[in-house]
């Protein structure tokens, strides 16, 4: 499925839009990490929680559970939330 990458993570992907596979958001992030080593830890912490200033949207709706089931046609957007100056 299509994953839209925010600018702070472009150093990993080199492009704004990438493809990744997985039946859940967690699985998609694992696939992203296989393709772009290190990217997952920048957005998911060691307790498997979403980092404070990172948000995930699936088809325009914000997702809070990494185990959220996904379909191949879904579109994921990773967003950098406000984090101060």
């Amino acid at each position: 499925m299509k994953v839209l990458i925010p600018t702070p993570l472009l150093s990993y992907t080199q492009r704004r839009e990438v493809d990744a596979n997985g039946a859940t958001l967690a699985a998609v992030l694992a696939d992203l990490d296989r393709q772009f080593p290190g990217i997952r830890f920048r957005v998911i912490d060691e307790q498997d929680q979403m980092r404070r200033h990172i948000r995930f949207f699936v088809n325009g709706d914000q997702v809070f559970d990494p185990e959220q089931p996904l379909r191949p046609s879904d579109e994921i957007i990773i967003v950098q939330a406000l984090s101060g100056g």
């Binding site: 702070p8 290190g38 830890f41 060691e46 498997d48 950098q80």
Partner: protein, 401 residues
């Protein structure tokens, strides 16, 4: 051009002889490694340390807490970084910052058991190269307090020792509310140059700790250290060492700048002596940083700050000065020649002052206002060598051969 893979001198400990102090190393090139809230810079000196070439920013916009050159190979740089959005990581360069590669496995706490709350590294705060006999070993301290070790030159990191999960240590670490404003920290990781198994570290808060068995066991080393009035000095959690340093030529001597004064400890003794009592009363002995002389264990420098009333943490009276002791803390002398005479309200954070190994020793510090100040003569006169950077978190020096 210092970007080439130059070979740095290895800092082997020298023993102070009766005849006098160990000799300084032959003239080499000094590089000052600056970590700031908005990136890192490398300042390269000419042979005389008179002119400086600025290389950077590296990691523009990243919060960089520490940049350290490996003195054992003279070319490997490690930098800790995070951004406002992204999690914490470590970058590694083997060509003095020309290119960087991210660590494959940055410091991270162990995953908690199902149903239990685990800890999360907010940022890696401190880096210490391992002992000269352990060439690829590095240690890292994090916020919140955690101790990590790499055995492959900083590529992969693992939790180290019992302290990250020890209930007693977790209690001593306190909560986020007990720590410094940007998070409680484990810092001042020290490896005894005579023995790789002899380790120290400090925690803000949580005291100074020592291991003599390579980290299998750590124990508090807080006797003689004071705490804020009204609290119990016997309680480890109330202790706030800001910066602990070991003397390279006399590793039995430690100095410490604490939230509550300046201290010295001579081993095998286990009781810290508050040598800051001999500082001028009007200035006091509160500060973040402390730096030791590379060859003379009686000489150390501090940069006092205002710790009165609401704790402004600025230079006292807006008149910054370094203070030096040449006799182990019996007396102190003010060294402010060249520094602003008034209306300078910055301070210097705990790892933002450093000494080179030249003769006379060069001193360097970075301010919360983004300036780098240098002295080529052990603090007698200061010159601003960079300004308008961001808030400086760390200043380290390295000698390139």
């Amino acid at each position: 051009m210092a970007r080439s893979a130059s070979k740095a001198t290895t800092r082997k400990p020298k023993v102070k002889t009766r005849a006098g102090l160990p000799r300084a190393r032959p003239a080499s090139r000094t590089v000052v490694l600056v970590a700031t809230r908005k990136g890192a810079w490398l300042l390269h000196a000419d042979a005389a340390r008179r002119t400086w070439r600025v290389d950077g920013p590296h990691f523009l916009g990243h919060i960089v807490n520490h940049v350290v050159l490996d003195p054992r190979d003279g070319r490997t740089l490690l930098a800790t970084a995070k951004t406002g959005h992204l999690g914490p990581t470590v970058f590694r360069s083997t060509n003095l910052g020309r290119t960087w590669k991210e660590a494959a496995k940055p410091p991270a706490f162990a995953k908690a058991a199902e149903g239990k709350a685990g800890r999360v590294v907010d940022h890696t705060f401190w880096l210490t190269p391992g002992h000269a006999s352990e060439p690829n070993v590095w240690y890292a301290g994090t916020s919140p307090q955690g101790l990590f070790r790499s055995e492959d030159g900083g590529v992969s990191w693992a939790p180290f020792s019992h302290i990250n999960d020890d209930p007693k240590y977790i209690e001593w670490m306190g909560t986020v509310q007990d720590g410094t404003p940007d998070g409680p920290k484990l810092h001042s990781i020290i490896v005894d140059p005579r023995d790789p198994k002899h380790l120290y570290f400090g925690m803000s808060g949580g005291g100074v700790h020592e291991s003599t068995d390579g980290g299998k066991n750590f124990a508090p080393l807080i006797k003689g250290m004071q705490v804020v009035e009204g609290f119990d000095a016997a309680a480890v959690t109330f202790h706030d060492p800001h910066c602990v340093r070991i003397c390279p030529t006399n590793p039995d001597r430690l100095y410490q700048q604490n939230h509550c004064g300046i201290y010295r400890l001579d081993r095998p003794g286990d009781s810290w002596t508050r040598i800051g009592r001999s500082m001028p009363k009007k200035v006091g002995d509160v500060g973040f940083t402390m730096t030791v002389h590379p060859r003379d264990a009686d000489t150390a420098w501090v940069l006092p700050m205002d710790g009165q009333t609401v704790w402004p943490r600025t230079s006292p009276d807006g008149k910054p000065s370094v203070y030096v002791t040449r006799n182990g803390g019996k007396t102190w002398q003010r060294q402010d020649a060249g520094l602003p005479a008034e209306q300078a309200w910055w301070t210097v954070k705990r790892q933002a002052m450093s000494a080179d190994t030249r003769d006379p020793v060069g001193l360097y510090f970075g301010t919360t206002s983004g300036e780098i100040w240098a002295s080529r003569n052990e603090g007698e006169r200061w010159t601003c060598i960079a300004r308008n950077l961001s808030e400086v978190y760390a200043v380290e020096t390295a000698e390139l051969g």
